[in-house]
């Protein structure tokens, strides 16, 4: 058994990591602005998957059109952004204004999670499919354009998802640095009172942050529809664990580190677990007589392990690590030689 995973698996791991990165980025954004850890974030991402599934069923059923990778994320992201705004304006803001504590707001996001999850499941159950007979649990892997990398046919979403993540992050960065509203958002994250005194509409900034966070989640979710063996909103119950892991590894203090944390956790979960599993099964099982079980099923242990390590040894996450010092140390070691 080879230790390193094959090309298709590596590509799908990269795509997964990019999707988790986008989700962790959005989660960190709303946490930074409104100080609410959103337990419904993964399910908001599932809105994108559901929209993508419906789009395929109604429009893109004859497959092989690259347009799906443009329209799907935009439509899914827009729907999720709309839900994010609704969730913040209609539920969380009124609750916060009524004086609910962080615990109250967290349980409110859990309540929203359950409501949304069941509504999405109901929609997929009740909506009659036009070209896909049963929408709930439908496998849409076959509906994507074919593409060859190094002579092997690979799932095209695995190429598109990392590119989408790159594009969305660049756009987001330009928005934060080149537009006055983006600057206002950064100011609000730094100091909401001062920003408000300087004439920034803080409430609007918060609402926009929920919209952006929802869009990132929905776009990632739309493309991830191709990754599931069957589209079922219930997977969000475990995805949220990975998304939070990414945000915590990133440090919950910077949106970009949230993205990096998500990518790190996603890669650790997929590639890391597979490599460990291959090592275990080629070396330890015959060598020490350990039980011949597949460790791949336990990939979530990886993300929880990372979270615990980060919380214990670097609660500020990757963002809090003094990278300059580490670089200097490496340089000095090299210089010494």
């Amino acid at each position: 058994m080879p230790i390193l995973p094959g090309l298709t698996y590596t590509l799908s791991s990269l795509a997964y990591a990019a999707a988790i990165g986008l989700l962790s980025m959005g989660l960190t954004l709303t946490y930074l602005t409104t100080k609410i850890p959103n337990f419904a974030h993964a399910t908001i991402g599932m809105i994108g998957s559901v929209v993508m599934l419906i789009l395929i069923d109604r429009i893109f059923y004859d497959s092989n059109s690259w347009l799906i990778f443009l329209l799907g994320p935009i439509a899914g992201g827009a729907a999720a952004a709309a839900f994010g705004v609704l969730m913040y304006r209609a539920i969380l803001k009124p609750l916060a204004d009524r004086g609910n504590s962080v615990i109250g707001l967290m349980i409110a996001t859990l309540a929203v999670d359950i409501i949304l999850l069941n509504i999405l499941t109901l929609i997929l159950n009740l909506m009659p499919g036009e070209h896909i007979p049963k929408l709930i649990g439908a496998n849409v892997v076959g509906f994507q354009p074919k593409i060859r990398v190094a002579g092997i046919v690979v799932d095209s979403y695995t190429i598109v998802l990392p590119i989408t993540a790159l594009v969305l992050t660049t756009l987001f960065h330009l928005f934060l640095t080149r537009t006055s509203f983006g600057v206002a958002m950064r100011a609000t994250i730094e100091n909401p009172d001062l920003a408000s005194a300087m004439g920034v509409n803080v409430s609007l900034v918060y609402t926009v942050s929920w919209a952006l966070s929802g869009f990132l989640a929905g776009a990632a979710g739309a493309l991830m529809a191709f990754a599931f063996k069957g589209v079922d909103p219930a997977v969000s119950a475990l995805v949220i664990v990975t998304v939070f892991a990414g945000s915590i590894v990133g440090g919950l203090t910077s949106v970009y580190w949230g993205l990096i944390g998500g990518i790190v956790v996603g890669l650790a979960e997929k590639l890391g677990t597979t490599i460990i599993n291959n090592l275990y099964r080629t070396l330890l099982v015959p060598g020490l007589g350990l039980p011949n079980i597949s460790l791949v099923n336990y990939e979530k242990v990886m993300s929880l392990g990372l979270v615990i390590m980060v919380l214990l040894y670097a609660p500020q996450g990757l963002a809090g690590v003094d990278w300059g010092r580490i670089l200097r140390k490496i340089k000095s070691v090299k210089g010494g030689r």
Partner: protein, 386 residues
């Protein structure tokens, strides 16, 4: 017109189990400010002690005390191979293929016929339940005890979700995985035993929680909840207070899970999911009133009766709304419970019974005692003046 048969033994046991879980959650979330979003793991640990672990211990005892009968049990389960030793029945008892026959036909009669064995096994299983709850309580929270409550919430949710949905659900050799296992039950009438046990447990849990809430420890817990910094300035160790609350609450929840499993006689990890054993208890304490033990009890009873009535009338309600009942399943109730939580948080965040200030010694009495002592001292110092 209510059909009272819906309020059956098993409903009563469910109510009592939820009362204990709500009281324990209230100790964490209401009094100490620990948002435990992973309650389902701790309830499942009690079930695991009765199935995965209890069955193995019972099988080991069976093999040790009556090896001949154990051979027969293995033979009936189709697991008798040449050279079978004690490990094979322990293994077979917790194996999904042989578990039903060995537990139902051999281990349960063996346990209930011999009082000494029964009491000893019950003591061991309860001990295991308590130990498991303490260890997992520590593991699930340790890394975030010193951090803000959001981190605690995330860690507890992630840890419990991972343990229940990944480890216990996927590892068939541990507890039957997604097929579940028949559990070891006690006394000839396990339902009666579950009812009595959970009633006693609920009463003890309530008394314990009331005593704790009105003790100096209870006031320290509230201080940690309201202002961590102030509490630590006054010399309170936040991490240790939180850990104590989590461990006490986890033990209570696991015991509740143990008695609940006695009624069902079997358990599967997937049935102890986040909605059923974390979200519902949260809904109950929010409905009843956080940081108030009576509120937790009242909230649980009101909630479960309401839920039961809704389930009973679900079909007519479904017809009224023109939705097929079998598709709606548990989805409509779950949506309604979510909406209920949001409405309570908005309309009456303090719940049915609001938090009241903790009972302390009456001021006059306290003042009287202190002044009395002082005046007595004065009298002792200057006897000649009077």
């Amino acid at each position: 017109m209510v059909n009272w048969w819906i309020f059956s033994d098993s409903f009563l046991i469910t109510v009592l189990a939820y009362i204990v879980v709500s009281i324990s959650l209230n100790l964490e979330a209401g009094f100490t400010g620990v948002p435990n979003f992973g309650k389902h793991l701790f309830v499942f640990l009690g079930a695991f002690a009765a199935q995965g672990i209890g069955v193995r211990i019972a099988a080991w005892l069976y093999q040790a005390l009556s090896p001949e009968a154990a051979r027969q049990a293995l033979a009936e389960a189709g697991r008798l191979v040449p050279g079978a030793h004690w490990a094979s029945i322990v293994e077979a008892a917790a194996d999904t293929g042989a578990n039903r026959i060995i537990v139902n036909n051999y281990l349960r009669p063996f346990v209930t016929e011999n009082l000494v064995v029964e009491v000893a096994l019950l003591a061991i299983v309860l001990g295991v339940t308590i130990l498991l709850a303490m260890v997992f309580g520590l593991l699930a929270s340790y890394a975030a005890l010193r951090l803000r409550e959001e981190y605690l919430a995330i860690l507890l949710l992630s840890f419990s979700e991972l343990m229940v949905m990944v480890i216990f659900y996927q590892t068939e050799s541990l507890n039957g995985g997604n097929k579940g296992l028949w559990a070891i039950t006690f006394t000839k009438n396990p339902i009666r035993f579950a009812l009595a046990g959970s009633a006693v447990l609920a009463a003890l849990a309530f008394l314990y929680a009331e005593r704790l809430a009105n003790s100096p420890m209870g006031r320290a817990m509230r201080a940690v909840r309201d202002d961590e910094i102030a509490a630590s300035v006054f010399g309170r160790d936040i991490a240790s207070i939180r850990l104590k609350a989590i461990i006490a609450a986890s033990v209570l929840a696991a015991l509740a899970g143990f008695f609940y499993t006695q009624n069902n006689a079997s358990a599967t990890a997937i049935t102890f999911n986040r909605v059923v054993w974390t979200f519902l208890p949260w809904a109950m304490i929010i409905l009843g009133g956080m940081a108030n033990n009576m509120g937790a009890v009242v909230g649980t009873i009101v909630f479960l009766i309401g839920k039961r009535l809704f389930e009973y009338y679900q079909e007519p309600i479904g017809e009224l709304l023109h939705i097929q009942a079998e598709l709606v399943g548990s989805m409509l109730p779950n949506i309604l419970i979510g909406v209920l939580i949001l409405v309570i948080l908005y309309v009456r965040p303090q719940g049915i019974i609001p938090e009241h200030i903790s009972k302390t010694v009456e001021f006059n009495k306290l003042a009287g005692e202190v002044l009395g002592e002082e005046s007595a001292e004065k009298d002792a110092k200057h006897p000649q003046e009077t």
